[in-house]
């Protein structure tokens, strides 16, 4: 193996070469003819909006998906992975953004899951894995994590580092990291960067997917920008800047710029007074006016989803008060909240949004059954008409409204869930990661839908982990950190730095 020192000059045969890789899901072409080479010890930054095709491309490289066209070379030899296991065998490790640690096991056991060292008696050699775990964690800059601690007790960021250490333990030749720093504290980020640099000088190639542009520019030897399934730009270290990258990613200089909206002096729609669930939400106090869009920003595990759940009655309230349009309310279930004009578009379209075996129309009407029925008896014509007006307003693309919802693209599925919430004629709309995993076009449509609804006097709360989304959409932003609402920021003072500063404010780092 060739070992390069420092920032790598690319050797003659790259470790990985992709030629003309293409992939479609049904009618959607998600990747078109991608050419890419990764040298030994090279760090590549892969940037792009959600839905640009980054994950699909990396899933092909790591053996989770098969390409429709194109070839892949490893050390100059053609390969075709039929499974993730084959790719791992070839030295390719993928650390996903979704955490997959087993909470009930210790950190050390997680690190050696599936290949636990044994003692002579065949039992797990705990002293060996604890020792090895300690050095692995130190390697990725996470020396503060105790190897014997249950993995479930760690913060999301710490779990992320455990995942990275787990991949590093295999000594991969290519390490793919999807948003590795999204929930790390600044101190942990520094340790992580040291790990990337040392892995690079040991000859490990790294592909690094991130939304944090500064980090990409600092760490990467090369930055590639993916848009609509194509590589639209490629830069060496120090050859680009932030504005240039944003333009490349979105195709516009101000794709998701804030659209100024006049929020006059309007009635207070929602007023929270020290709302707590005794666990993940601690004394949230804020208010939302009719026609206002208020953001809730926070890191993974900050309590955004939980706060929305307490508001809509999906999670029991331990203390605090809540007023809806001036009336004190206490919802015992989302059904109760819906009757009083509170609808939610939940996080996780597949797990908590769609009814997968239902048609498009029946998904949309699920929250409005009583208003579409005469007593108990459904009025199918009224249901069809109600949906068709929303289909137009939300420009939902489909053949007929009786096709299964799973045959629509992710963005269109999400629009159907929006239609479901709006059809119930709510006065307060709660949105949880409303554009997660939808393509850029649908995202712009969804923002427009939210603005229009707010213009008609709907009060909207948007919980999101995406700063650009928060900045594009919100009139005011509350920042959550470890379940506490630490700051409510007016539109004028919004910036990425301020939001992140407050988001980390309640997190104490272990010494």
């Amino acid at each position: 193996m060739i070992i390069d020192g420092g920032a790598a000059p690319v050797p003659a045969t790259p470790f990985l070469t992709l030629n003309g890789i293409g992939k479609s899901f049904g009618p959607n072409r998600v990747l078109r003819s991608i050419d890419l080479s990764v040298g030994r010890g090279e760090v590549i930054g892969l940037l792009g909006e959600n839905g640009a095709g980054k994950s699909t491309l990396m899933n092909i490289v790591s053996g989770a998906l098969a390409a429709d066209e194109g070839t892949m070379l490893l050390d100059g030899n053609p390969v075709r992975f039929r499974s993730i296991a084959e790719a791992i065998g070839a030295g390719i490790a993928f650390v996903h953004q979704e955490l997959s640690v087993v909470g009930a096991l210790s950190v050390a056991e997680n690190l050696f899951l599936g290949r636990t060292p044994r003692t002579r008696l065949g039992t797990v050699d705990f002293s060996a894995i604890t020792r090895a775990a300690g050095s692995l964690l130190t390697e990725v800059g996470a020396q503060s994590i105790v190897p014997g601690a249950p993995a479930g007790s760690l913060r999301a960021g710490e779990q992320q580092l455990v995942e990275i250490a787990k991949a590093a333990a295999r000594k991969p030749r290519l390490l793919i990291l999807d948003e590795p720093t999204s929930s790390l504290t600044p101190h942990e980020v520094a340790g992580f960067k040291d790990y990337v640099r040392s892995a690079r000088s040991a000859g490990t190639s790294i592909i690094f997917i991130t939304h944090r542009l500064e980090e990409a520019m600092e760490l990467c030897d090369r930055i590639l920008v993916l848009r609509n399934g194509e590589i639209v730009a490629q830069y060496g270290h120090g050859e680009t800047n932030r504005d240039r990258l944003i333009f490349d990613m979105t195709g516009k200089t101000s794709m998701f710029a804030h659209v100024p909206r006049a929020v006059g002096a309007r009635a207070i729609a929602l007023e929270l007074g020290g709302l707590s669930d005794g666990e993940a939400v601690r004394e949230a106090t804020f208010s939302v006016a009719a026609g206002e869009i208020v953001g809730l920003f926070g890191l993974v595990g900050a309590g955004r989803t939980e706060l929305l759940e307490v508001i809509c009655g999906a999670r029991p309230r331990a203390s605090g008060t809540m007023k809806l349009l001036g009336t004190e309310v206490h919802f015992r279930s989302p059904a109760d909240a819906l009757r009083n004009g509170v609808a939610i578009v939940p996080e996780g379209r597949k797990t908590a949004g769609i009814l997968p075996q239902h048609t498009v129309r029946r998904n949309a009407s699920a929250s409005s059954l009583r208003s579409l029925a005469h007593g108990q008896i459904m009025n199918h014509r009224r249901e069809r008409d109600a949906f068709s007006s929303f289909q137009n307003d939300l420009s939902i693309r489909m053949e007929t409204d009786t096709q299964p919802i799973t045959t629509l693209s992710g963005g269109n599925q999400q629009k159907v869930i929006f239609a479901r919430a709006l059809m119930a004629r709510p006065r307060l709309l709660l949105l949880d990661e409303p554009t997660h995993g939808v393509d850029v076009g649908a995202k712009a449509d969804l923002y427009e839908i939210v603005r229009k609804a707010a213009d008609r006097g709907l009060a909207v709360v948007v919980a999101s982990s995406e700063i650009p989304e928060i900045i594009a959409l919100c009139d005011r932003v509350g920042v959550l950190s470890k379940g506490r609402l630490v700051n409510v920021q007016a539109r004028e003072e919004l910036s990425e730095e301020i939001l992140l500063h407050y988001a980390f404010s309640e997190i104490e780092e272990r010494p």
Binding site: S333, P334, A335, L355, Q357, A366, S367
Partner: protein, 322 residues
């Protein structure tokens, strides 16, 4: 080329309706019996099949709603036994047909409500909750009677053994109930809520559907129909045996699954369940007509359940989206 591919598409579309396969099986068995036994097509035999199907079919209607809502009710057989005994004893002690009938239905309803409350309020897995009820209801039936059957004549006899223009009353009741439950499942708000809850309970809850109330309803309804089944069964024999309905849960669940209802919830049709129950009765009839040992019947029932669920699994594997 294109002609064969369109006909293949039509076939696939047809098999997409899961009732198709059970309907085909039904006709295949019927066709075979027509040739294999001279008695099969006799009206007396056919009506008898209808009567035998009725109790399983009526209880299967309730069970279908439970399974569509992602639950299961293992207690139906015991509830049949307990309701019949309760109805017979109250009739004997009060002499009132109305009170007797109401007690039988009421006991079924209460057992169903108890199942529903265990599942919704105490978050007990439906399998375990109704397994417990299976034992409790049977035990209470035995305690009430000391294990000795109670005479049960009167209205119940008419329901269980009576005929209207030669057609068994229980069969007519089954047809009427099937039509009503079909309407409930496909045209009412409650029906839509049942499918939504079974398809994705978390999404249904956040969409503002009262998941607990829906689950409580299906269990209570299933209990009520089991109570009715118990009265019909006892009436047919003019005697309420505490062991009545023993093992019925197997036939009922088999009918529901054969009819194309997914055990994983959210999918199934009442029409399919109706055909599934008729098919089960037809198979029972086949064993009698062909003179095959009743023990084989027990083995076959098990095989049919496994086969029906196995076909479901294979179809799912073809379509990973589901």
């Amino acid at each position: 080329m294109s002609a064969s591919s369109t006909s293949r598409q039509v076939l696939r579309q047809l098999f997409h309706y899961r009732e198709t396969s059970v309907l085909l099986m039904f006709f295949a068995v019927a066709a075979y019996l027509t040739f294999a036994s001279e008695f099969f097509l006799e009206p007396r035999n056919l009506l008898n099949v209808g009567r035998q199907a009725s109790v399983v079919a009526i209880v299967a209607l309730g069970q279908a709603l439970v399974i569509i809502a992602r639950g299961i009710d293992l207690s139906v057989g015991s509830v049949i036994g307990l309701s019949s005994v309760a109805a017979a004893i109250t009739l004997r002690d009060t002499g009132s047909e109305v009170i007797g009938l109401a007690t039988g239905l009421g006991v079924g309803l209460i057992c169903g409500l108890a199942n529903g409350l265990m599942v919704t309020k105490f978050r007990i897995n439906p399998f375990i909750a109704t397994l417990g009820m299976l034992s409790i209801a049977r035990g209470v039936a035995l305690l009430l009677t000391g294990g000795i059957p109670v005479n049960y004549a009167g209205w119940a006899e008419y329901l269980g053994a009576g005929r209207l223009y030669d057609v068994p009353v229980s069969f007519l009741m089954m047809v009427v109930l099937a039509a009503l439950v079909h309407f409930l499942a496909s045209r009412t708000v409650t029906g839509r809520e049942i499918y939504a809850v079974g398809d994705n309970p978390k999404a249904a809850r956040l969409a503002g559907i009262d998941v607990d109330r829906t689950r409580l309803f299906v269990f209570a309804f299933c209990g009520l129909l089991s109570g009715l089944g118990g009265i019909i069964l006892a009436g047919n024999l003019a005697s309420a045996d505490p062991n009545l309905g023993l093992g019925y849960e197997l036939d009922v669940i088999a009918a529901v699954i054969l009819g194309g209802t997914a055990l994983s919830g959210g999918r199934g049709s009442i029409f399919g369940v109706f055909i599934g129950a008729m098919l089960m009765a037809l198979l029972n009839n086949a064993f009698v007509l062909l003179g095959i040992s009743a023990y084989w019947q027990v083995v076959t029932k098990g095989l049919i359940i496994i086969m029906a669920v196995g076909i479901d699994g294979l179809q799912r594997r073809d379509n990973p989206d589901e």
